[in-house]
């Protein structure tokens, strides 16, 4: 038995020794809601970030030809798992920067309790809550997706323009739902619309029929849902449709998920609209779309572009900072401040040469130019989508 133990210990030691060279690689964390209420969205987001990492490694690697390694963690779209995943990434994996977490609540918790004290730069591709702008973050928290303050207001103006003047609003009681709902309400009411029901709900309950009945009692025929399409948003949508509480449904970006189409059927979702950020047409977007389609991804999947940009920009910043964790956030501002040689999606080799030569570069991303404001936010463009076939189709751009 003792011999067996010694042999086992020796094997384990050997395995550690063999794994040792990997320590020289540069690690970044990809934290996302792999499980939980946005599980249907997460795979495309993780894959597009991996594409950026792949492009870096295929075109000369990072720093002195080292490999960029992406460590995936499950933030499960909630604050607790977000903190756990970030702790593991920062303390055990020793990542130099993080792309993610995906959900606002997870971003706020993970940054406040883990990454800000540790000085690790975080770029979230989809944490949209206005709260994130106000973080006291020593300039280490950025996002490649616009704040919901923009989206809620844009959606409110668009609905009014489309002639919908009376709505009921149901929102998930978390940082994402609340932020979006408040922005929507202030703009909708400010422009003469009527909110005939405004209620939060807890996620993951089985029945929302009484919530819906309360909302419907205000007399609106349009329900605006700020929730996740793979979580309680789906349950609400189903129960509202089945019981005929409302005729029209409008969702935020969280509802633009494949899950409602898959589970409820496109034929039942003819009156369902959803807003979501879109990339402006650009060479960079086309280059990304082609590269992502080549590896089997769907370039129009929600947050695929922002997630790709976040990972690519983090790689550029690490290169610029020379691998120094403390300098990454400053470098991130330098590589995308609107001044310098433009770098488009995937142009790693060119960027690497320019950085080595000391030339200023300016990343023009697939989702936009990403010139961060002083809070680490970016402005954005949105579109209104409807269900068509087995996916979503743009109805109109909204502003």
């Amino acid at each position: 038995m003792n011999k067996f133990r010694t042999a086992l210990a020796a094997t384990l030691l050997g395995a550690t020794a063999m794994a040792a060279p990997a320590q020289a690689d540069v690690k970044i964390g990809l934290l996302g809601g792999v499980s939980g209420p946005i599980a249907a969205m997460a795979p495309a987001m993780i894959d597009s970030a991996r594409l950026a990492v792949q492009q870096v490694n295929d075109n000369g690697g990072i720093l002195d030809g080292e490999q960029l390694v992406a460590v995936v963690g499950d933030s499960a779209c909630n604050p607790q798992n977000g903190t756990d995943a970030a702790t593991k990434a920062v303390n055990i994996e020793n990542v130099i920067g993080i792309v993610g977490p995906h959900c606002s609540g997870a971003v706020l918790a993970a940054t406040n309790s883990v990454t800000i004290p540790a000085g690790v730069t975080v770029i979230t591709p989809s944490g949209t809550s206005p709260e994130i702008s106000g973080l006291n973050d020593n300039d280490t928290v950025f996002r490649t997706v616009p704040s919901d303050d923009f989206q809620g207001r844009a959606l409110a103006r668009t609905l009014l323009l489309r002639g919908t003047a009376k709505v009921a609003v149901a929102y998930l009681n978390n940082d994402y739902g609340k932020g979006l709902a408040e922005a929507f309400r202030s703009e909708f009411e400010g422009n003469g619309g009527e909110i005939a029901g405004f209620a939060a709900h807890e996620g993951e309950k089985a029945s929302y029929r009484s919530n819906l009945a309360e909302l419907a009692s205000g007399g609106a025929d349009t329900l605006v849902i700020f929730d996740y399409g793979d979580g309680s948003g789906l349950t609400m949508l189903r129960q509202a449709l089945e019981n005929g509480f409302f005729e029209n449904f409008v969702g935020g970006d969280g509802m633009k998920s494949d899950a409602p189409i898959k589970e409820l059927g496109a034929e039942n979702l003819t009156t369902f609209l959803s807003s979501a950020p879109v990339g402006e047409k650009s060479d960079s977007l086309e280059m990304f779309s082609k590269a992502f389609a080549d590896v089997g991804g769907d370039p129009s999947a929600i947050f695929a572009t922002t997630s790709y940009d976040a990972a690519f920009m983090l790689a550029l910043a690490i290169e610029k900072a020379g691998g120094d964790k403390a300098k990454v956030s400053a470098a991130l501002r330098e590589i995308s401040n609107g001044e310098g040689e433009p770098i488009r999606a995937g142009e790693w080799a060119k960027a690497k040469e320019l950085i080595a030569a000391g030339t200023a570069i300016d990343y023009k991303g697939a989702a936009g130019d990403h010139n961060f404001d002083d809070k680490g936010d970016v402005p954005g463009t949105y579109a209104l989508f409807k269900v068509s076939g087995d996916g979503f189709e743009v109805v109109s751009e909204i502003q």
Binding site: V34, S35, G36, A39, A40, N173, A199, A200, H201, E202, E204, K205, A206, S207, R209, S210, N211, L212, A213, E214, S217, D230, G231, L234, T235, R238, L241, E242, N243, G244, A259, K262, E263, L264, G265, E267, N268
Partner: protein
């Protein structure tokens, strides 16, 4: 708001979700009465049952009602195996150790479900079902079946516990395990039988939850608190109490939106649990243990 509206949108959903809580609470109460610990893996065992039924539906192409007995048998087998692998070993240790072990089992079962079936929301049948209207009352077939199946299963369990030799052995062990052992009751077999029944009930709760709503990896875990509240409300160790407790918790949750802001709906089960423990810890029907 008229009476019909209250029945359709508050009472009927309350009874349906209450029936599902009841199925889970009966299992919790049995474990409490016979094995004397809180089984925290109960919800995730229900998730496993629901997804096993999904497996039968997708592989066999059968309706979820046909898949229900299959899932019940498989989940019962899983429950017995979990007991043999994890709980049997801890039987003589303080009960809190087993409670903690069951929390670990809950995480493991959920992880297995996520690995096998993934993390997306699933349904047994695609699309939506609009309710039938009977004299102004809107109810779906599946909701009627859920309520009737709950009543049928609980009645069958009641008859089994009262009339059969093994049912009496279970009750004897619940009253006094040492005395039961001395009187010739094989404790090991009773434990196994308990897990078979509990596993089956878990699967039924999971399948009906999936049938009426959606299948998610977290579905059972989020049901755990209301199910425990129901078991304690009814009186721990009392099967009929668990049914009563389940229905009360379900209806109270839905009705709470009439009086409280909707975000407090999820807290209703908490409030009931807290109030009951303060005012009458033995439950509505006097519980046997605790």
């Amino acid at each position: 708001m008229d009476a019909l509206e209250i029945i359709n949108f508050y009472l009927v959903p309350g009874i349906v979700i209450g029936s599902i809580y009841a199925l889970g609470a009966v299992g919790i109460t049995l474990v409490f009465a016979i094995l004397r610990y809180a089984h925290l893996a109960h919800g995730d065992l229900a998730t496993l049952g629901a997804f096993l039924a999904l497996g039968a539906v997708t592989l066999g192409g059968v309706s979820p009602y046909v898949a229900l007995p299959v899932a019940m048998v498989l989940t019962a087998a899983a429950a017995v195996m979990i007991d043999k692998a994890f709980y049997a070993y801890l039987r003589e240790r303080p009960k809190i150790v087993t409670v903690m072990a069951s929390l670990g089992v809950a995480l493991m079962v959920r992880a297995v479900v996520q690995v096998v079936w993934g993390v997306d929301s699933e349904t047994y049948t695609r699309g939506i079902v609009r309710p039938d209207v009977w004299f102004g009352i809107r109810i779906r077939d599946r909701e009627l079946i859920t309520i009737l199946a709950m009543i049928g299963l609980v009645l069958a369990l009641h008859v089994f516990l009262q009339q059969s030799k093994w049912g009496k052995a279970m009750r004897a062990m619940s009253d006094n395990p040492d005395l039961a052992l001395l009187s010739g009751v094989d404790n090991k077999k009773v434990v196994m039988l308990t897990w078979i029944i509990v596993g089956g009930l878990c699967a039924a709760a999971g399948v009906f939850l999936g049938l009426n709503y959606e299948l998610k990896a977290m579905m059972g875990w989020t049901m755990l608190l209301p199910m425990f509240a129901a078991a304690i409300l009814g009186g721990v160790g009392r099967v009929e109490g668990a049914v009563l407790g389940g229905l009360i918790v379900g209806i109270a949750e839905e009705m709470s939106t009439l009086f409280l802001p909707t975000e407090y709906k999820a807290a209703t089960a908490f409030a009931i649990l807290l109030l009951m423990l303060l005012v009458r810890p033995t439950g509505l029907l006097k519980g046997k243990v605790l």
